[in-house]
Subunit: 213 residues, 2 copies
């Protein structure tokens, strides 16, 4: 399998976790976001949105969107699963994953921060405040859900790894980079400490990627 | 089933489409976003994120997140399906849905526009430009995908209704409200004209809701 990725892309990081958890080998094709390689024609042919990641599937089509890729991997390679068995539990796991993937990450994406800086002429203090605001809005709620649903503070939902964990870790990693106050989230801190010690997660870290600078 | 909803909420609109397509009866519980009812303690107990929609499932738990609800409905009530059969096709449909649900809608949500207005002191012209910018970024790409994958310009993917259609229509509706240039998207226009004539979609429209003003 081929994965178009960027070492610092949080959405790519999610997919790398999923691939590693399932023990799937893949070829990394780096797309350098800060150099604008995602906007080049050749990459737009792969993914019209010009975002990473994109996974080339067995039919040689590109799947954009990290959560679509994770669901694809889970349907194609069901073991170990990224979703629980019960329909009700699956809905809760997907809700946790989407609370990060829809309601935190897109607001703090590089292209949005660049719009704030360049089009809206915001200074770094204002951009950082924006970043931290959406992290706090999201993590305040996810901490409550995790406190309710995490089994022993090792995974977001119950006692098994899921889609939600693959979304949480990259967001936690970025929140730490931006100096967010993470002491407010004891359950998430416990889950992340556990997950970050796991080989599949260690190998997916930005600094472990071939294109890391 | 009970659905916490707001007539103008685009994410609620998606779920209403899904419920109607599957012919499921439900009770609407309106949460007035502009009056701030979503921030009240009583609603935070339902959904810690304080966002609509939320669906109460058979175990009396709330499912937040519209796409998690639509996947839940599709697993619980499989006919008619909201996802194709083949794993590869499912991935493409989910990618289209997520391109809207992650990369357009969260940036143009009420809470984000309010942050631009109040915290960043942006005027209405700037807020409208922001809105249209993210619509154009997203729709430019989705138009390309739809042109490639739509069967006869009636659905986003192939010749069957899917999750992607349930996401497209509310976004199209809002883009029209904000005066976006929709002539640039002939395939999407054709799909939306078809879908907006269908009873399940007509009944889900904001102005058809009991809480419409």
């Amino acid at each position: 399998m081929k994965l178009f990725t960027y070492y610092r892309s949080s959405a790519s990081y999610r997919v790398r976790i999923g691939l590693n958890v399932k023990g799937l080998a893949y070829e990394s094709i780096p797309i350098h976001l800060r150099k604008g390689e995602h906007r080049a024609e050749v990459y737009r042919d792969v993914n019209a949105q010009g975002l990473v990641p994109a996974l080339i599937d067995d039919t040689q089509r590109a799947i954009p969107q990290s959560l679509a890729i994770l669901e694809y991997l889970d349907e194609k390679y069901p073991t170990p699963p990224l979703l629980p068995v019960s329909i009700e539990d699956r809905a809760q796991v997907r809700s946790l994953a989407l609370a990060i993937a829809c309601d935190i990450h897109p607001l703090n994406n590089l292209r949005v921060l660049q719009y704030l800086r360049h089009t809206l002429q915001q200074n770094e203090e204002s951009v950082t405040a924006w970043y931290r605001h959406w992290i706090a809005e999201g993590f305040d709620a996810i901490e409550q859900s995790a406190a309710r649903y995490s089994g022993q503070g090792r995974y977001c939902y119950g006692d098994h790894l899921s889609l939600a964990d693959a979304c949480l870790i990259p967001q936690w990693y970025n929140a730490r980079l931006f100096g967010c106050d993470l002491a407010r989230y004891p359950t998430l801190a416990s889950i992340c400490a556990h997950l970050e010690s796991q080989p599949a997660f260690i190998a997916a870290r930005p600094e472990a990627q071939p294109d890391a600078e």
